[in-house]
Symmetry: C4
Subunit: 436 residues, 4 copies
């Protein structure tokens, strides 16, 4: 084969010069005919057929990618150049009529990573842009203009100084309300005369203690609660009045939370003056609904998303990683099922009748999930030799499961976060950018 190689090396097959963006690539004509139905194959045929072939053929394209393309013709293997972004490679491959699926698996990841990042970041940018919608205030008149101006103040804390001030005040009320709500449960803030002014009813048979203990915190906290509720009521009404799109306002999750969070206090007021109405068997249901509605109040903390960009990034990252989160969930569920069943049977037989720890499989679920996340409260734990083995397997597979899926899940958040940070770090230009 040495002879043949030498023949190839030192000439005698027809050579062709392709000038791609100034870089001259030289090859044999036969090489270009290796991959039929492509731009270069047609060029090679044109070169052979034509009477006066040109000295060099000029293409106004990216020169670096052409290295890979011509290499594909030479060897039949398509590897991409690692110094060029995948999106450029895609564009150039399209130009040369080479299918991207000829790219070998070793280079595929590099090739796609840039395209994937572009896709995901572009959709991220678009959703950010959709929120920061620019409103042409000048084109509006009269009521519409006032409405829009106030709406911006109420909803978009970064649009003006007034909006910022209002946003901070609103946030203070949210924090105060939540703090009060937490302090209410401390024994220190409970009044000694717990159910003094409400025992004038007639139907408190067994439940009043609970309702009472919930509803009679310290006087100061009660007043705070009333002030906050008043503020939130007014705010909700004002925001509804100035909302430019009423329907969108009504179906917005945050507004529904705000509305539901107001219910308990008004319920309590009604309750205090008309307790006889509820004293039949639906009282227990009432109490439960009240409890759930009181939790809703805590979700007001999500008003912070408006003010703090990292939270916005988290929300988008979770949305973009929904498939990965689902994967983690399914892995955890399968692991939980398997280990819960195994620990149930392992511990049952070991205890031989005295089944105090893993009485039911659902308790096994709880144990398995807490072991796989490596929390391990120790409220339930295996005690038999087989149970020890199952427990050890559960702990190790939990560590593995989390370790395997975490890099895949954290990818999007890191991507978004570094993207936003790098965009922000150059503030003056950022403003220019919003113009284009």
């Amino acid at each position: 084969p040495v002879r043949k190689n030498a023949r190839n090396e030192f000439g005698d097959d027809k050579r062709i010069v392709v000038n791609v963006g100034g870089v001259r690539h030289e090859t044999h004509v036969s090489t270009l005919r290796n991959i039929p139905n492509t731009r270069l194959a047609r060029l090679a045929e044109h070169h052979l057929c034509s009477r006066e072939p040109l000295d060099e053929y000029f293409f106004d394209r990216h020169p670096a990618v052409f290295n890979s393309v011509i290499d594909f013709y030479r060897t039949g293997e398509l590897h991409v150049p690692l110094e060029v972004c995948g999106a450029v490679v895609k564009r150039e491959l399209d130009y040369w009529h080479v299918d991207e699926f000829h790219i070998k698996s070793c280079c595929w990841r590099h090739y796609r990573s840039y395209i994937e990042n572009k896709r995901i970041l572009d959709s991220f940018n678009r959703s950010l842009l959709k929120e920061n919608f620019v409103i042409d205030l000048e084109s509006l008149t009269g009521w519409k203009k006032i409405q829009m101006r106030l709406w911006l103040v109420l909803e978009h804390p970064r649009t003006s100084k007034a909006a910022m001030v209002y946003g901070v005040i609103s946030l203070c009320f949210v924090v105060t309300s939540i703090l009060g709500f937490c302090l209410e449960t401390l024994p220190f803030f409970l009044r000694p005369s717990m159910i003094s002014n409400r025992t004038n009813g007639t139907c408190e048979r067994e439940k009043p203690r609970e309702i009472g203990s919930n509803m009679t915190p310290h006087e100061a906290l009660n007043i705070l609660d009333i002030i906050c509720t008043a503020f939130f009521t007014i705010e909700l009404i004002v925001r509804f009045i100035f909302a430019p799109d009423k329907l969108r306002f009504v179906i917005c999750a945050m507004n529904i939370i705000d509305l539901l969070a107001l219910v308990p206090l008004y319920m309590q007021l009604i309750f205090n003056y008309g307790s006889i109405l509820f004293c039949y068997q639906d009282e227990q249901l009432m109490v439960e609904i009240m409890f759930i509605l009181r939790i809703v109040r805590m979700f007001r903390i999500f008003h912070l998303v408006k003010h703090y960009q990292a939270l916005k990034i988290l929300v988008y990252a979770l949305k973009a990683s929904v498939q990965e989160l689902l994967m983690l969930a399914i892995f955890l569920i399968i692991g939980t099922l398997i280990f819960a069943t195994m620990i149930y049977y392992a511990e049952r037989r070991g205890e031989d009748g005295a089944d105090d720890q893993f009485r039911t499989i659902p308790i096994g679920f709880w144990w398995a999930i807490m072991t796989m996340t490596t929390v391990g409260y120790g409220d339930v734990y295996p005690t038999s030799p087989v149970g020890y083995i199952v427990g050890a397997a559960c702990g190790v597979s939990g560590v593995l499961m989390i370790a395997l899926t975490i890099p895949v899940i954290s990818n999007n958040f890191t991507l978004f976060y570094t993207h936003v940070r790098s965009r922000k770090s150059d503030k003056p230009r950022d403003f220019d950018n919003s113009d284009e």
Copy 2:
């Protein structure tokens, strides 16, 4: 040395021009003779011997890798270009007769990483392809055709709409069966009259309670169980009938699980009508076998692998990382052995006779593995000063051990996952690809 350098720089050694794919590389002839028995060394000798040496020697090869090759001749150190995939480098080095083992250790990792990824991804793709085998339905006739068509419906949920519908129904039965199985253990679903209709036997001396408590859940769950068992029985029979390769069907792990999972109910039926047969000393064994068989039912959840690709990726990743998992296991075992022994002696002497926590070394194993995975139930924990030191060392080395091995283990899963995701994100073309 300045003089000598200048001599080298400004000429007087014979120069040679090597045109590699259009890029002209120039060097001294003496340089090319540095590495004997290679293509370029032979070229240099040919150049010196020949009467009329060519102005330039043309090679139709990748120009970027040649930079590294010529640099190897100049300096005796072989570093690879980082902008080219390792597989391309390998091919080019083979062409130039340069051994890859001259590559310096700094570049070796970059060089191999692409080749390794290619190897592992190609084998991954091959195993995926093996599953999605294309069956030439047209070539089959009569029974074979019906058999194959139904087999695809039964086993490959993505091949047709009917298969998808059937797959979802089958999965629903699996989920229902597992849910029923879990709920059975809840006290809420146990009938108050536990062993009413079965006490007509004569040999229930001490064990009936357990068997009874296992086998008498709520009537609704019993009926559900019977329905599910009937479905799975029919399914297994139908699948056996339409299986194109009976032997492969019989030795398939999933089918064995399905069969074993059916046993308990049928056993129970026999048991109910013929309990006198088993009432001798092997009853205890019976109960144990029944327990184990009931756990088997839970493994039906692995039918999900057919439907959910991420699970398939997990399975392949674990298979491909078997060496790394073994490494983690051995590290954990060694750590467990060392720390279990140390805590056993540390705690023993500390307690001075009253040995309530670490009575045996195997309990030390349990403690060590739970500490190294950072679960830490707190059912056993050291109480002596030496025990505290051993415990702290165990916790820290557990964290280190997991931290060291995790990046190595998660590598394959991340590789497969990003590969599959990037392949899938371009659906229409994916179909084209399957043609080639």
Copy 3:
């Protein structure tokens, strides 16, 4: 379109050769006019207008980046070359009057990462440099010179051998003091006659036991404490005397800690001889202040920062990552709030009156934070089915939250650490570098 392409390929639009640093790039003049108001667009117009256009235009610039620039003219998409540092790209884009915000999102991260790293490392280097300030000892005379020389000995352990020796001695005293402080609390070191020589007072009604048990450790530890306190007192005075900038010395956190750490012993001396003065109702307050001041002593351990560079890196990394740490804190606070409220209500209803575990929401905070960090002491844990679900959600979101934010937070520390290590590994040259 083939015809049109062919026309473009084989000529007839005017071509222009731009020689950038020796590499000839060729393109159509029309291409250069695509992006108006840039250097190349003006060049194209100059080329068209001029009578005798040059054969090639020479720019003494980096050739690799020009590939991307010319590609931007051809296609309207700006991707950066991945083999060139982002800072070089920025400089070249500025030269060609191309705005960096045309860079596509796929390449943006690569482009910015080098610039970001440069920015953060330069500020890190500057703060390191600020500490290692070079003092021109020769220019000082008399007292100033002695003062500065001793100051260097006292404060900068790496400036001379004497400073190193002094630093080690000082550190030994710190370690001894802390060790003594820890051993004091061990029962082994408490004297049996606890409050023997102090009961000559008249006002020990109920509190003396605590004060006594604090203040009467073993005699040897007492002497050690006095020796250390003497040393630290002298050291503080000497350092104050030789401090070149008294104000800066006074407001330095470390010196305030040193001063406060001295207070307890002197207080005790006064207390022992004048205990009658304090025996009224402010005794309790005294004890509390004494307790806090005794903790302060432990912070002397931060003297280690002067000696150990990795600690310095940690401090700078935490400073540089303050935004990321804030993000983690806010995520944890929100998670804590939500889960604490949910567990409070979930567990309350489940227990139906007997509220022993989650009596208050703040206990829920404690539980939630310990579950999200996966510590999981198990002092409080959910016991109801709803509580189990909340607990599982809390554990999983804790794992996710930490996994998501950790790569972003650890980034700076890894950057600084590898930077410092790589700088240090080449000691002889490092010294050269400090000259420039």
Copy 4:
């Protein structure tokens, strides 16, 4: 400035062509004079002074790095090309007399990472090679040859088939011995007649129970122990006889472990027949020494290092990361000190006298280290509000501390592991490599 730029662009400063390895770089002569005392500056001066300057100056060097070098002359900023290995850059910079410390901080990390990896991998390879020392068996004669041949069999399991078989047998004995040792502690294997045949002594006053319970396991385990001890005794003697370097054999840690592990059984034999000798006050000491010696036996597991390469990698990685491990240790110690003191005071005051949880600061150490590693047994935990805050801070800083240091620590292990794996995956060539 447009005019001036135009002047620069369209000529009139003298241009010079430098041909580096075939790639023509063009620049102004004035550019080359920017950095004095370098090879190019001297070239520029030579060019200006000489009567007949050459058209182009040829350097037989790597062309890619020259891009960066010439860019340094143009702009004064030295950035390295990212497609070339750092080691190549270093070599080229040395050739052009450009100091590597001009490299900007953005590129520094990339530049050094390859050099660092080379340094660390070369030292790793060297230590691997030192172990696999090749012995020239042919040159030895007589006893020396036999000695060496048997030594290889005894110590290097991969040198021959016999060595492999012997290695596996030896490992089996190690595993058996360890298993027996663990099973001894199980109650199941303890004989009911515990101290039957030993009560003929006269001095068992209070301690005999412990010694007895240690020394009287089941008869089968005793026999197993004697067989293993016999094997290990013979092995140790044989290995000592055939050791080519007696001194090195004696000081080897593994042999000392082997020797010490043999002591307990022989001690016991002496003890059984001469128990009267030890029955005075040093009996307690005897028991303690025996306990420690029995633990030593467990360290025989490290014989596995000879057989399993991943363990060797772990050992080397830990050795190479000793600085990083020290850093983690210091961080943990500082954190432990601070949090232990804080929890001690926080909990003390909260409990107000009844100090049952954090009685001493060392117990605080234990709590702090277990919280920072997120193990969290829950044997001690804070109960006061201030204690909750300290606990939460401790947990979060533990997570942060581990997260920050882990990437730095795991780096070397991952490097070594991937290096060894990639070397091994190409077995046939690996053998070739060992020749050179």
